[in-house]
């Protein structure tokens, strides 16, 4: 049997589900076995995703590795999956961080290990599924499937205020996504009304072609775009619907924070690039000015608020608001460097913030505290850890040569070309980022060893080899993408060109009260 005949995408998605089912039947008193099965299924999925990456042809702009099966024929709903460059790289990012997170959970998670691993693997199913769905109904299902395990991961294994944080996370997400469901159904019905058939009414490729050739009527576009956009903006999260993020990030267990920051936030940005903009390009133009302003507010606001956070994780959470502001800005200036930068920034933010949360988790294991003020002088006691943390801090601050720089630089280029004022505000933020990151680094690592840390005595050990193993792949990728950003750009060029050619061809729909 030829490798190319395998349903590769389905395998990547559902191998973790098989792992979860196996774990459900394992005895509770065998933690080693449960961990091994969880890691093995995540690694298999990861290996398969590397096959996908190797086999993917970047010069072909069409969706590759497509699998199509009828599911609910009465409405033309299909199990239809496929990837372009953008999906491929996000799938690989997901599978990479999944096994890393599972490995990083081996020591910290002691209670209900079985349920934890099941939740984590189902989370991976939902996340990969979102990135490969080419049917809106299927997409929505994966979009919601991912919600439940994350809810449990924060709520069961999280910090002191976990129940508040997890309910806030779920309710915010649900409001957005349920309105998106109405929009999906309305879009499908509009298509059915126009063509007289349900065939293709939920099929992304058909709908996109419909949007290019005939276009959806103005009112539907405006409403549906807003609903899609709200769902995605909550996930990204954009100012002012970001308030669930600091709570969820702070209360989640380490691996939960990693997945939240690295992958879940990307769902929103991915949804904008994949669905909201191409399906409703006119409405996207209409609302772009507002979205750009909100992105700028988010960039500046996130950075300023990060400066005054007393909690290690909370500070990084607010830095996510800033970094993701770059992404939405880059998308909605509808300009090549901007969109390239947005995609690169998505990947970088996943690697860098994922790494930072892993490292905070390493220290939290030893100190059980994250109050920045209690730390100080760690550099003397844990030199390797300090070096690792410093690396990620500089990557996050956008040091040239590391990948964080590339994304922000491209977005900056794009925004200056779009409007110098927008570019100026964005650039100012690089200074803020340096300020809060270096302040944090200085506070925690330099100076005298703090009394709190001294009190820990021998518990305060340097980073262990297994912990190093979890962050080394991320560090390697950060260097690689920093030196050779072409690796990503080459892969996603097809996606970028397709989206831009569609959106640049149309002009804004006038809102009825603006005419």
């Amino acid at each position: 049997m030829n490798v190319a005949d395998l349903p590769l995408l389905s395998l990547i998605t559902f191998v973790p589900l098989i792992g979860a089912i196996v774990i459900a039947f394992l005895p509770r008193d065998q933690p080693g076995l449960i961990r091994a099965v969880a890691l093995a299924s995540a690694l298999i999925s990861f290996g398969l995703s590397l096959l996908l990456l190797i086999g993917f042809n970047p010069t072909n702009p069409a969706f590759q590795y497509q699998e199509v099966h009828d599911w609910i024929p009465a409405f033309g709903i299909q199990y239809k999956v496929g990837v372009d460059g953008l999906s491929t790289i996000l799938v690989v990012l997901t599978t990479t961080l999944s096994w890393i997170s599972i490995l990083a959970s081996f020591r910290p998670i002691k209670t209900s290990l079985k349920e934890y691993m099941i939740s984590f693997l189902i989370l991976e199913v939902g996340l990969v599924g979102v990135f490969i769905s080419l049917d809106l109904f299927l997409f929505y299902i994966f979009w919601e499937v991912e919600l439940v395990p994350m809810y449990l991961i924060i709520g069961i294994w999280g910090g002191a205020n976990r129940i508040y944080a997890t309910l806030k996370f779920v309710l915010y997400t649900l409001v957005g996504s349920l309105l998106m469901l109405v929009a999906i159904l309305a879009t499908a019905f509009t298509f059915q009304n126009a063509t007289g058939s349900w065939v293709g009414a939920f099929d992304f490729i058909t709908l996109r072609n419909f949007a290019v050739t005939s276009g959806f009527v103005g009112n539907l576009q405006l409403f549906a775009f807003l609903a899609f956009f709200l769902a995605f903006a909550i996930k990204v999260p954009m100012f002012p619907v970001h308030t669930w993020l600091p709570d969820a990030h702070t209360e989640a267990p380490t691996a939960g924070s990693v997945m939240l920051a690295a992958i879940l936030l990307k769902l929103g940005a991915y949804g904008m690039i994949r669905f909201a903009v191409p399906l409703f390009p006119g409405a996207a133009h209409t609302f772009a000015p507002i979205i750009i302003v909100l992105s700028l507010i988010g960039i500046v606001y996130g950075a300023i608020v990060a400066l005054v956070q007393p909690d290690w994780k909370r500070l990084i959470a607010y830095s996510s608001v800033t970094h993701m502001g770059f992404v939405t800005l880059g998308i909605f200036i509808f300009q090549e460097q901007g969109l390239q930068g947005a995609i690169v920034q998505m990947i970088n933010h996943g690697l860098i913030t994922g790494g930072l949360f892993l490292l905070v988790g390493v220290m939290y294991e030893r100190t059980h505290d994250r109050t920045i003020a209690k730390f100080g002088g760690l550099a003397g006691r844990t030199p390797v850890y300090t070096a690792a943390f410093g690396f990620f801090v500089f990557a996050s601050a956008g040091l040239p040569g590391l990948s964080g720089f590339v994304g922000e630089f491209l977005v900056l280029l794009g925004s200056f070309a779009f409007n110098p004022w927008v570019g100026a505000v964005t650039a100012s933020c690089m200074i803020w980022a340096a300020a809060y990151l270096l302040y944090m680094f200085q506070q925690i690592f330099t100076g005298q060893l703090s009394d709190f840390l001294r009190g820990l005595g021998d518990h305060l050990t340097d980073i262990s080899p297994i912990e190093m193993l979890t962050i080394l792949p991320l560090a390697a990728l950060i260097v690689a993408f920093g030196l050779f950003p072409g690796l990503i750009l080459h892969l996603v060029q097809g996606s970028v060109t397709t989206v831009l050619s569609e959106v640049q061809a149309v002009s804004a729909i006038h809102l009825f009260f603006w005419q």
Partner: protein, 490 residues
């Protein structure tokens, strides 16, 4: 009466005969569980088989007063399944409280004959007979725990308001009969079509009749503001009975709505539609808001069942628009089945936890369930997620279908779609609160261990499988509801 009439009503007759046999069995072998259950399950299988067999050849009997079509078959099989599940959930709970199972089963079978009569009626009087035959056993069951004051109180409230609303409903029927001169459903529809087509405005008498009928059924389905009996009746009843009450009389009353509002009063839909839209909006919203504040899971589920009434009413509201006639009915029928599977399952978990006497249905009783009874907690989570409408469960698909119908209808019903999803998001809070207690809180002290009997386990697994499978592969059920909906429109 001809032989053809008798063969047409065979499923209904079988249900009554099974009920009678159950009573006889109880006289011959008093107080024994096993024979009663065997008779009941065999009997239900026979009833379902006959319903499917008779349903193959749609037709009428008794001069057109009784009508068998695909809608009848669909509802008959649905209700047989619901009664069977109730019979799986109840025995352990009843045995722990010394309540007689054979009588319980017999009363359920009588109620079954009531809903079967509704789903096959082609005449307003038969419809009313069916309605009464369906709700009377409900009053008995609500007060089944005779020595429990709360149960008696709930039953009395249920009975008083129930008979009151039946009287209102009958009053409305009298107006319609008086002004159209017939009690046959198709005859009424023909007469009303003439009225709707003509330029004459709705006569005051007909408007009154419409108002009384709407009020009567709004009581039966527990739509806001006619829902006040629900929480007390539901909370006072023995828990397996609550599950039954939240499904059979409600979905049965929806069957009546389909026969009456769609079948007979359909030509006047322009007049009643806006009332249904308002009822739907109020019912969803108020049901959900009050459910948010409940600390008893049983009472929370009672209010949540009110909210689900609101979602189902959207299907009826969508029916009035020519764009979405079939979709609205299909959505409503699909939702009825989905609601039955997930809601019965949720109440069954509460019943399993309350199997020993003296355990309340407060949220506190659910603390630490994830550790004490992992299977039960996992199943409850599944049912609650389905009630919330999270994929890949049947509750999600049902909600999506109703919303699709509303979107197709547009206009006021289209606004209902947005109200419905905002409500669904709010509802997530109280459903997930139970999950919080089950997995994220520890119980005070060491609660008694939970034992799940064999029947209960079977019933729970059946509900869970239905909840998941119908969500992942709704195709088969879609075909059935499609046929049923078209039978009504023809």
């Amino acid at each position: 009466m001809t032989w053809a009439d008798i063969s047409t009503i065979a499923p209904l007759a079988a249900a009554i005969i099974v009920a009678a046999v159950l009573i006889v069995t109880d006289i011959v072998l008093p107080g024994r569980r096993a024979p009663a259950l065997v008779v009941a399950f065999l009997g239900l299988a026979v009833v379902a088989g006959l319903a499917i067999a008779v349903g193959r050849t749609p037709g009428t009997a008794f001069d057109g007063a009784y009508r068998v079509d695909d809608l009848t078959t669909y509802l008959d099989v649905l209700f047989v399944a619901v009664i069977a599940l109730t019979l799986l959930f109840a025995p352990d709970y009843l045995a722990a409280r010394d309540l007689p199972l054979p009588e319980f089963a017999a009363v359920l079978l009588f109620a079954l004959s009531g809903v079967m009569l509704i789903s096959a009626s082609a005449d307003l009087l038969v419809l009313f007979l069916g309605l009464e035959l369906m709700v009377l056993p409900g009053y008995l069951l609500a007060g089944f725990a005779k020595r429990d004051a709360l149960s008696t109180e709930g039953a009395i409230k249920y009975f008083l308001l129930g008979s009151f609303s039946s009287a209102i409903f009958l009053f409305g029927l009298a107006f319609v009969w008086g002004l159209t001169g017939t009690t046959r459903i198709d005859g009424v529809a023909t007469a009303l079509k003439a009225i709707a087509a003509g330029s004459t405005p709705l006569s005051p008498g007909l408007a009154m009749g419409l108002a009384f009928l709407t009020t009567g059924v709004a009581f039966k389905i527990a739509a806001v503001p006619f829902h006040y009996w629900t929480p007390d009746a539901y909370q006072g009843s023995p828990t397996p009975v609550t599950g039954y009450l939240s499904v059979v009389p409600k979905v049965g009353a929806f069957a009546l709505i389909l026969r009456l509002f769609v079948g007979a009063l359909g030509p006047l839909s322009a007049d009643w539609n806006i009332v249904i839209v308002l009822l739907a909006a109020a019912t969803m919203t108020l049901g959900n808001l009050v459910a948010l504040t409940q600390d008893s899971v049983k009472r929370m589920l009672a209010y949540s069942s009110i909210a689900h009434t609101g979602y189902m009413l959207i299907g009826l509201a969508a029916w009035s628009s020519p764009n979405s006639q079939i979709a609205g009915l299909e959505g409503l029928l699909f939702y009825g089945a989905a609601y039955a599977a997930m809601n019965l399952g949720a109440f069954a978990v509460v019943a399993a936890i309350q199997r020993r006497t003296g355990i309340s249905s407060q949220l506190e009783s659910f603390a630490g369930l994830g550790r004490r009874a992992p299977l039960l907690a996992a199943l409850m989570t599944l049912f609650l997620l389905s009630l919330t409408g999270i994929p890949p469960t049947v509750g999600f698909f049902a909600k999506a279908y109703i919303i699709l119908a509303a979107v197709q209808a547009g206009g006021p019903a289209g606004i209902l779609a947005v109200i419905a999803v905002l409500n669904a998001a709010a509802a997530a809070f109280y459903y997930l609160r139970v999950v919080v207690y089950m997995f994220m809180r520890e119980p005070k002290g060491e609660p008694a261990p939970i034992v799940i009997g064999r029947l209960m386990r079977t019933g729970l697994l059946v509900s869970a499988v239905l909840t998941v499978v119908l969500g992942l592969a709704p195709g088969l059920l879609l075909t059935l509801v499609g046929n049923a909906a078209r039978a009504l429109t023809l």
